[in-house]
Each structure stands twice: as C-alpha cells, then as structure tokens.
C-alpha cells in the first residue's frame, strides 16, 4: 500500500512537471490538460494534485505567483524552474526505462525454466 502511494505520488509529480514544461499554468488548467491528454483514462482524484504541486514548490522544482486567469479571476500560476526541468528529464528517463522493462516482461514468449 505504501509503495502504491509512493508510486501514485511519483506519477502525479511527473505528470505535473511534464504539463508545466509547456508553460506557466494554474492548478485547474493542469488538471484539465492531464484529463484531455490521457482521455480521462487515469482518473486521478483532482484533489491530490494540490499537495503534489505544493511539495514540488517546496522542493524548488516549480515556482508560484498569483495572476489573473483567462476568465479574469485571481489564480495561482505555477512555472517550471531550471531545477524542475532537470528533475523532469531524470524522471522521464526513469519512467521510460521502467516501462520498457515491464513491457519486455509482459511481451515475453518464453516460459521460465
């Protein structure tokens, strides 16, 4: 269960970083972008996005500032920092290697000896 939680946290943080790599966004926009890109397949609880955002801000991977949203409301915008960009690259590498390894296992044709 703990590993599961860790896994989900890691996944959300990766998604957030990737989303922000397109440019500054507020939390709702990030949620929408993830929803649209994954065809709502992940079905993340939107609430869990915010602790992830704040943790990333705390780590210095993203920065926040208040600004006006597209419909002219006060919204908190997040921007990727250089450190965050670096973290994103590392995470992507990890995930790719991990996914490739899993893919190899499930597409295996030989039965274990």
């Amino acid at each position: 269960m703990a590993t599961d939680l860790e896994f989900k946290r890691g996944a959300i943080e990766l998604l957030v970083l990737k989303t922000l790599s397109w440019g500054p966004m507020h939390g709702y926009a990030i949620a929408r972008w993830i929803q649209d890109t994954t065809d709502d397949a992940l079905r993340v609880e939107e609430g869990s996005l915010y602790p992830a955002l704040h943790r990333l801000e705390d780590k210095g991977a993203i920065e926040a500032s208040w600004g006006l949203s597209e419909n002219n409301r006060q919204a908190k915008f997040y921007t990727l920092t250089p450190r965050g960009r670096q973290a994103l690259r590392a995470e992507i590498d990890d995930w790719t290697r991990y996914a490739a390894a899993i893919a190899k296992v499930i597409s295996a044709t030989r039965q274990p000896a």
Partner: protein, 887 residues
C-alpha cells in the same frame, strides 16, 4: 461573475498569507469545475456535487497543503533570521574595521576586565570549587578534639577516644585515623633521601573511595601485628623519586632503616587530607595505647547518607560528654570539633582572600563595561545620521537594536579571546605570587569551565555596555536628525547624563578597590613591623632526627646533638649555634600542662604553657633577651638539679608581683610530674604566627635533662654560601646512615606566614591600579568628548568676549563635581564592603580614616588632572574654526 470583493484582490500585496492562498486556490479550482459542468447543462446543485466528487476529500487536501505551507514558512523564517544575523555580523565587522581606534579602545578595555575575571575565576574554581579527588567528597569530615576552657580549638585525638567514637556513633558510615607525617629516610640503594611518611589506619583508603593506580591499597591485614611491613606511594613521589617505574609494586625499599614492600601507587592529586605525607604505612588502631590523654591521631569520617554536620556534631558530643564523665582526669573539658574536608583543606583566610578577589575583579569588569559603554555612546552619537537613515528606510527599532548589539557582542567576543590570553599570562603570574603557599594552586588552569565562564561573561558584558547606547540610538528622532543637515550634535541631555553617571560609577568603584588595597597595604606594613622577640636575620634552621634506636638511650640522643653542635659551631660562616625542639616558624607547637606545687588546683583546670627544649646558647644565638636570672649552662646536666626558664608572659601571668626565680613548677601530671626550678626569665618570642594578639606562656627546658629524638639545629650565620654542603658533611660524619639535611631561612619562613595576605594584597593592588587607569581613561574620554561637542558653544563664547580662564574652570569644575560625587558614593560603598576584608586586616580598622582620606584625595586629584588636557584645548578654542566646523 465573482462574489469576491475587489479589495481582496490586493490584499496579497500587503502581506503573504499561505493559509488563505491554499483556500483561495482550491476554491478557484472547484469554481472552474462547477462553471464547466454548468456550461455543459448540469443544474447548479448537480454541477457542485459532481465537482466535489471529482475533487475527492476537500478537507484532507486542505490539511495536507496547510501543513506543507507551514513547514515551508518556518524554514523560511529561520533562513531569514540567519541571513539577517550574518548581515549584522558583516556590517558590524565592516563598521569596526573602519573605526579602528574605537574598536581597539573597547577591545583593550574589555580584554583587561574579562582577562582579570577569567584568571581569578580559574583560581576560585581550582582552589575552592573543583571537586576533590575522592568519592562523594562532600560527605567527608575532619574531626578534632576541642577544649574550650583551655582555648584549644583543634586538637588531636587519642586512640582510646577514637575507638569509642568509631564504635558508638550513629552518624558516620566510616571513620579512620592517621598519624602526623614525619620525616623518614627513604633509601633504595644509594643515598638516603628525606621524605614525609604517615601511618594510617588501612580503611582510610576505602573511606576516601579512591582506587590505587598501580598495585593495591593497604588492607586490614597489612596492619595486623607481625605482618610484613608495607607501604603505598603517592603519585608525585613515585614520579619524582622512582621515575614512574611501573615495576615498583612488590619491590622493597628502606624506610628509616626498616625494609618495607611497596604494594601500590595512588593516582595523581590524591593525598590524605591534613597530611603532606606521600608515603603511607599501615597502623593498627586496635593495638594502640589505651591512655585517653595520649592525643596524637588525626581523624576523618564519612557522613552516613542524609546526615548533616550539625547532627553529627550533636551525636559525637553525647559520646564525648559520657567519656568526660567516665574518665574525668583525661577527658574533663574535652569535646568535639569538626569541619568539612573541603573547608579544612583551604584555610578560611585563603577562602576569604579568593572570594574578595572574585568581588574585586567583578568591580574591574564593571568599570571596563562603563568605559566601553561610554565609547559606544560617543560612537552612537557620531552615527546618529546612519541610524536615522536606516530607520527612515524602514528598519524597525528592534532591527537597529539587534544590529548594534551584534556589534557589541562581536567586540566582546574578540575582547574575550584577548582576555583569555591575558588570563593565561595572569595565571602564570598568580602561580609566582602564590608559589607554594597557596593550597591547590597547581589545580588552577584554563580549562573548559573557565572558558565557558569567560564566554558567558563576555556576552553578558556586551549586553551591559551595548544595550543602553543601542536603545538610545534607536530612539532618536529621525526627522530632527536628518534636518540638522550634516552636523552631528550631542545625543542630548539624556546622553550626557548617562555618560556622567557612568563616570561617577567608575570613580566610586575605583575608590572602593583602592580603599581595599590601601587597608591591606597598611595591615601588611603593621604585620611586618611586629616584633617577633628575636633577631631572625641570618638565622637558619636544620631539622634533624637522632638515629633510630637512640630513643631508648637518652644519653645517646643528647650525645648525638652535642656532637653535631660542636662540629656545626666550627663551620666557617657560622657565628653561633644551638639546638631546639621546635624552632620559631619552623615546626609544630608543643605544649604541656603545669602547676605551681605551692598553689595546687583542680586536675581538670591545670593551666598549660607551650614549651621548648633547648641547649645552652639558644638565647644567644637568636638574641632573645634575658630579663632576670641566668641562662642554661653546661653544668645543667642530666642528674644535676632540674632547671627551667620561663617567658616574660608566663612570669607576669602566674607570678604576678612575685619574683619567679627560685620558684618551682611541676609539669605534666599534677601529682607525679617532674619538678623544675626556675632559674631565669626571658623575653617573649613569637613561634607560630605574627597576628595572634596575645603571647602564650612559654617554658624552656634544657636538652641534657629532657632529651628528644627530633630536634632542630639553629645556626646564626654570617655567610651561607657553602653551608649546605658543609652540613651534609657534618651529619654524615656523625652518623653515615642519616639522610642529608635540609636548611631553612627563618626570615623566609616568617614571610611564608603572611602568604595569604601577600597574595590578596598583590592582586588587589594590581586590580585596583588597573581600575584606576580605566577610570582615568573614562574621565578623560568623557571630558574630551564633552569639550568637542561644545566647541561651537565655546567658540561663540570666546567670540563674545568670555575670559578663556572661565572656560577652563567650567570644564575642570564639571570633572571635579563628578569626582566628588563618585568619591562620596564610593566611600559609602567602601564602608559597607570593607567588612568583608576584616579577616585579612591586621592592626587597621576597616574604616581607617587615613586610608579613606588618602584614597579620596588621590582619586579626586587624578580625576581633575584627567580633565586638564581637554580643558586646555577648550580654552584654546578658536572662534573661527569652531563656527565653521561642521562635522
């Protein structure tokens, strides 16, 4: 579109609020979702429900986000605090570097104050506070007998009494006894050497609770009759005489001719309280004499848990009262006396001297702080514009005070480091001043407690001298100062009043110290002028001991000393020689009870007198005057009529208005004691101390009639250059088995009795001098500063025709007023405080008017003199320069 009031949009410009931020952010998210669902046709209730469902547990998310935010804010605050502290330090260092004169002044002043405190604290700690090297040393007690009717406060204990105390008390968990140390000849092949040894009851080691460093401690078996002779060595002796030889355990040495096996070595710093012996041999208490009057033991006890000294005293008093009833002849009038071991090691005089010094250096430190505060105030005035500018730019008052205090702390820490260096030198100086006469001085060092103390003192001082100037500076009226246009005025009436108060305080504190030093100086002079009753110049003492075995043959002992005497008299550089049982200032006191056979008294009320056994020629050698009758002569031998000399004090007290010559006196037992005929009355001689007010009665017996094994050779010398070697020859010619003798100058020994006073005097004089210099610097700087501040005013007055002399009088007059106030306050303080010196004074009242007046005049003169230079420069004020000055 939004029910958010407009002002809330700008709220964040005023102050960040992480909690509100989180709430707003999540509200925004939900609102966006709701809007979206509404746009796609949901009813508003549906839309809200759907949005909430999609979001999950709102409260849990809020909590988690608030937590993250709180931690973040805390870290940020901490970081900010460190950053601002670092900034203060940097700004402070830069400020000090740009104002080196000021920094140097404060650092030097404070270093002197802190250094003096560190040095004296290290002495106080080493001598008074450092725990003794025993298990639970606070439970250790030394016990004596006491006889109030005979004015005997601390006397030895008889083994018979000791056995009763030990078996019947209910307050001590252990009790042990030991002998007075004696000189023994230690030989391990080669030349014998004199060392001090003591017999101890073996359980004393377990009582003290110290384990042996090598081998083992003494045990009860070692004291059993017929057991092989054993001994334990002290660390110092083992190190110096045995070269720290770890194979010493089990080896045999010769002690006074007897073969003794060394069974152990005790650790460093271990001694048995009350004896300077460094070799301990076992003694059996159970086989010791049963005579209650034979008092020769020293006694230690360990209090049982929870027992106070008072209770122990009460318990022992019950036992001594019973002993007095059971054995009136020996125990009538004898009770108990006890002291904690920690108190008995360091005499009350030294304790007092050290405590006085602690107070004294605290005063020096206060004066130093006053000076530093003055310098800070002067500097703060010069920096008013800087501070005002900072305040105008938004620095809070707290921030400015913090910055100024950081500067003070920086100065203090640097001064503390320099001060510890000074203290290191100071301790070396202290060791020189105190030499061997200050107990436990080798325990004095700069170690962790002393360094910690110095740091605390330094930081405390920075508050003391930095806080007032800092508060002053931060209170300044920004507008006023900036309007003044480049000119830096005074901090105003308040600032001047504070500086004046500081000067008054400095003068008052200095006066108290100088009065103390003056009183000690006068006591010292009085003490040195005390008539000892003999001529100590060129008198030397050589402690000797007749060979082992001779004590059974009295003629042999007398013969030994006569032989040594004859040879010593023939030595070059020796004008006269004699032998005495215990020489002035060079040995223990000996006393006996006596009675006039024609005036019998109650056995319990026998008077007592000190006595010495001497050879004919003793009076001549020490130039002791013969008032009446005759000196001993060679014809007063064993077998001829028993004769005695008495001192003037004894004659006056016991033969008032009578001629004692020809009277007889019975010593010791009132019925069976020996009877002596008095043949002469001689002058009073001080044998033990200079400061006892009353002369004790003294009885002299002649060596041929009352021989003793341990005596001292007394030499009146004209030239001591090669005497030590010659004496060695004399002693080995008489008996080659004796160790080479040591030789002491009586004048030196007399000086030794003044050690505590000299120690206190020298240090107090040094510190009082330091205080005086600091006070002078303080007065000078305040006057000079005041004159500089008034340059404009003075210049205008000159321009308007004021006589220059009146300007001079104004400045000097102000200094004199401050000095007068300081002197009055200081004198009042001194009257209150000099009582604490009374134990160190001799022949001088604590309120000695001559000392007070002398010191007051000195201080007033110095204060006025310190203002002369600033006054002179005020007089020369040039109106043109003064009016154009704009700094």
């Amino acid at each position: 579109m939004s029910d958010e009031p407009l002002w809330r949009r700008y709220r964040r410009f005023l102050r960040p609020d992480p909690r509100r931020d989180v709430d707003d952010e999540i509200a925004f998210h939900l609102q966006m979702r709701i809007d979206e669902y509404e746009r796609s046709g949901h009813s508003s209730t549906d839309a809200r429900e759907e949005a909430m469902r999609r979001f999950g547990n709102v409260n849990a998310v809020l909590d988690e986000c608030h937590d993250i935010g709180r931690h973040r804010a805390e870290r940020g605050r901490r970081r900010w605090r460190w950053q601002s502290f670092g900034q203060d330090v940097r700004v402070g260092l830069r400020g000090l570097a740009s104002n080196r004169g000021f920094a140097l002044g404060v650092i030097l002043t404070m270093a002197i104050g802190i250094g003096a405190n560190a040095a004296v604290f290290s002495v106080a700690y080493g001598v008074l506070l450092r725990p003794l090297p025993y298990r639970d040393p606070d439970a250790l007690v030394r016990l004596w007998t006491r006889n109030v009717p005979r004015a005997v406060e601390f006397f030895s204990v008889s083994p018979a009494d000791f056995r009763e105390w030990r078996s019947q008390n209910r307050v001590f968990s252990a009790m042990a006894a030991y002998d007075r140390q004696r000189d023994v000849a230690l030989r391990r092949g080669g030349e014998p050497e004199v060392v001090q040894a003591a017999r101890v009851s073996p359980d004393i080691f377990s009582l003290l609770g110290t384990e042996a460093l090598l081998g083992r401690r003494l045990t009860g078996d070692d004291a059993r009759p017929g057991a092989p002779e054993t001994a334990v060595l002290g660390y110092y002796l083992w190190q110096t005489r045995f070269g720290s030889d770890s194979a010493i355990v089990g080896r045999q040495v010769s002690l006074d001719g007897a073969t003794v096996t060394i069974v152990g070595v005790m650790p460093p710093r271990f001694t048995i309280p009350g004896t300077s012996a460094l070799v301990w041999q076992p003694m059996s208490i159970d086989t010791a004499p049963a005579d209650h009057a034979n008092r020769y033991l020293r006694v230690l006890g360990r209090l049982a848990p929870g027992v106070t000294l008072e209770r122990a005293r009460a318990d022992l008093e019950v036992i001594t009262a019973r002993l007095a009833r059971e054995h009136p002849a020996s125990n009538e009038g004898w009770t108990i006396n006890m002291l904690m071991v920690s108190e008995s090691i360091v005499g009350t005089q030294f304790r007092r001297a050290v405590l006085v010094l602690v107070g004294v250096v605290a005063f020096v430190l206060l004066i130093a702080c006053a000076n530093a505060a003055n310098l800070q105030l002067a500097r703060a005035t010069a920096r008013r514009r800087e501070m005002a500018l900072r305040a105008a730019l938004g620095a809070s008052r707290g921030r400015i005070v913090t910055q100024l205090l950081t500067e003070s702390a920086l100065l203090s820490m640097i001064a503390g480091a320099v001060g510890v260096g000074l203290a290191y030198g100071g301790i070396i100086l202290l060791r020189k001043v105190g030499d061997t006469t200050v107990p436990r001085l080798d325990d004095v060092q700069l170690d962790a407690p002393v360094l910690l103390f110095s740091i605390v003192v330094a930081l405390g001082c920075s508050l003391l001298f930095g806080l007032v100037p800092a508060l002053q500076a931060s209170r300044a009226d920004v507008g006023e100062i900036l309007k003044e246009g480049g000119r830096s005025g005074d901090t105003g009436r308040g600032g001047r009043r504070i500086r004046s108060a500081l000067v008054v305080a400095e003068i008052a504190l200095s006066l108290m110290l100088l009065v103390g030093a003056g009183l000690l100086l006068r006591s010292f002079a009085r003490l040195q002028a005390v008539d000892v009753g003999f001529d100590p110049r060129g008198a030397m003492v050589v402690p000797l001991q007749a060979p082992e075995g001779s004590s059974k043959e009295p003629e042999q002992m007398a013969g030994f000393y006569n032989d040594v005497l004859a040879r010593a008299r023939a030595l070059p550089g020796v004008a006269d020689a004699a032998v005495v049982s215990s020489a002035p200032f060079a040995g223990p006191n000996t006393g006996l009870s006596f009675v006039r056979p024609d005036r019998p008294v109650d056995p319990g009320l026998l008077p007592d007198a000190d006595f010495r056994v001497i050879t004919p020629g003793y009076l001549r050698s020490l130039r002791i005057p013969l008032h009446q009758g005759r000196d001993f002569s060679a014809s007063d031998r064993a077998g001829s009529p028993q004769v005695a000399l008495i001192s003037h004090a004894m004659a006056r007290r016991y033969w008032p208005n009578e001629n004692p010559i020809g009277s007889s006196v019975r010593t010791g037992d009132a019925a069976k004691g020996t009877v002596y005929t008095i043949v002469g009355v001689v002058g009073d001689v001080r044998y033990q101390s200079l400061d006892t007010p009353e002369m004790r009665p003294m009885l002299y017996l002649t060596a041929d009639q009352a021989p003793r094994r341990t005596m001292s050779l007394l030499l009146r010398t004209t030239n001591t250059s090669s005497l030590a070697v010659a004496l060695r020859g004399v002693v080995s010619a008489v008996d080659p088995s004796l160790p080479p003798p040591s030789m002491f100058e009586i004048e030196q020994l007399i000086r030794g009795t003044m050690a505590a006073r000299r120690f206190a005097l020298v240090l107090l004089a040094i510190f009082a001098g330091t205080a005086l210099v600091l006070a002078v610097v303080g007065i000078y700087s305040v006057m000079a500063y005041a004159v500089r501040q008034q340059t404009r005013e003075l210049g205008i007055r000159v321009a308007l025709g004021a006589p220059r002399r009146s300007l001079l009088a104004g400045v000097v007059g102000r200094a004199a007023r401050l000095a007068a106030m300081g002197v009055v306050l200081g004198a009042l303080g001194a009257i209150m405080l000099t009582d604490s010196l009374s134990g160190l004074l001799f022949g001088v009242e604590p309120t000695d008017p001559r000392t007070f007046v002398g010191v007051a005049l000195l201080l007033a003169t110095v204060a006025v003199a310190a203002s002369l230079f600033p006054a002179w420069s005020a007089m020369r004020a040039d109106p043109m320069v003064a009016l154009h000055r704009s700094d």
